[in-house]
């Protein structure tokens, strides 16, 4: 049975039979794929700790008939700090769910950039941020850029009018912001304040190290969360299940 090695992040897992698990992996070299972790549900299995979501692994996989099989595995980073509170757990779960929804199986297009971005985002989520969602939203914007879905934020999608310091509308179906004259052209539009537009433009502009210092007002936070929620839902082929859970955790102040 031919084998290959790669770095991977565990995006999710489901049970198979009595003792095994199927892992959904984002690999750095081969894109998203499913692989079997044999015996991972046995109490003293060497694989059990490696099958938890957001764990970073170095893997040797054997090519199987339908699913590849994990033959060797070393944990490079289990991101213990992500498992230290419900806010980090939920945001990391959403990040993995988002990758699972937006990345096609075995699609290697820009996969190294996506993998490195995901590793950096998980590490950033482990750190303290002024606004808990800033590392997550920074990740979302960069992922959208790599996938070619980045929303237009500097000018009206329909008339190219430059937009800043004014109340505008956002439409996921139109792919960005709309000037007040063209807002009614999209049925899914909703208003966002000038402050929100400024923060959205900042997210697309600032480096990773400055993300953790972004601190928008409460109204802008609600708008930014909504912009990204609607945009991600529009571009995902299936329901991003963790969005609602994330919203309920945000509502609890976590």
């Amino acid at each position: 049975m031919p084998t290959y090695t790669t770095d991977a992040i565990v995006l999710g897992r489901r049970n198979l039979g009595e003792h095994d698990r199927i892992l959904t992996l984002l690999t750095r070299d081969y894109g998203k794929l499913n692989a079997v972790a044999k015996g991972a549900r046995k109490g003293n299995s060497k694989l059990s700790g490696a099958t938890e979501p957001f764990t970073q692994l170095k893997l040797m996989l054997a090519t199987g008939r339908s699913l590849d099989i994990i033959s060797q595995c070393e944990i490079s980073n289990s991101h213990p700090a992500l498992r230290s509170d419900i806010g980090r757990l939920t945001r990391s779960s959403y990040l993995c769910d988002l990758l699972d929804c937006l990345i096609h199986e075995r699609d290697e297009t820009s996969i190294k950039a996506i993998y490195d971005l995901s590793v950096a985002a998980l590490s950033l989520l482990e750190k303290e941020s002024v606004w808990k969602d800033s590392p997550l939203h920074g990740f979302e914007f960069r992922l959208l850029t790599i996938l070619g879905y980045m929303p237009v934020l500097n000018h009206c999608v329909l008339c190219d009018m430059e937009l800043s310091d004014q109340m505008v509308a956002f439409s996921a179906s139109q792919g960005g912001v709309l000037c007040p004259q063209h807002a009614s052209a999209a049925s899914d539009h909703f208003g966002i304040s000038a402050d929100t537009l400024q923060t959205l433009q900042d997210f697309a502009r600032v480096g990773t190290e400055k993300l953790c210092n972004l601190n928008p007002g409460p109204q802008s936070i609600l708008h930014i969360n909504r912009v990204l929620r609607e945009f991600m839902k529009y571009h995902s082929e299936r329901t991003i299940k963790s969005i609602e859970f994330l919203e309920s955790i945000r509502a609890m102040g976590n």
């Binding site: 944990i75 289990s78 419900i86 939920t90 779960s93 299940k241």
Partner: protein
Amino acid sequence: MHFAKPLARLVSELERLPGIGPKSAQRMAFHILRQPREEAAQLANAILQVKESIRLCPECSNFTDQEICEVCSDTRRDRAIMCVVAETRDLIAMEKTGEYKGIYHVLQGLLSPMDNITPDMLKIRELFPRIMNGVNEVILALNPTTEGQTTTFYLASRLKPLGVKVSQIAHGLPAGGDLEYADQATLISALEWRREI
């Protein structure tokens, strides 16, 4: 399919069971076919009886065939300590230790962000009136998985304001485990939960 229709139906019903693939379903179906009629009837009756007689205990949400489950109706149990578990299977595992003499609460699942399993889908609302009824300590005995930890943090944040002591079972290396292959999270837990000998 080349099976006779009743046999094909049995195979297709068995395939719907968790962990049962087409080959296993066929093997089980042929086994049932070869059994004496009485044994097959016993199996069918057992399945129906489970569906008809098993319900959730109104106190702890454990599966029971009584009005109140055996644990809740046992007067020797310490009602000041409550152990919260995810499934009845976990309750049975705790009972097998013979070490725990308090009462239980079965959540019938775990919170899961990725599957959008929210608190209102579990037996969490039923937990709070029981806590107010003389419970001093709640032991959260949930799996050390992403879902288990999410549920643990959620319950701790809801229970601590009630003034009750909330503890979590220790996490670390399993009996017969291998230190070399343990992940960071497991080893960090093992160090955190170490005790003097």
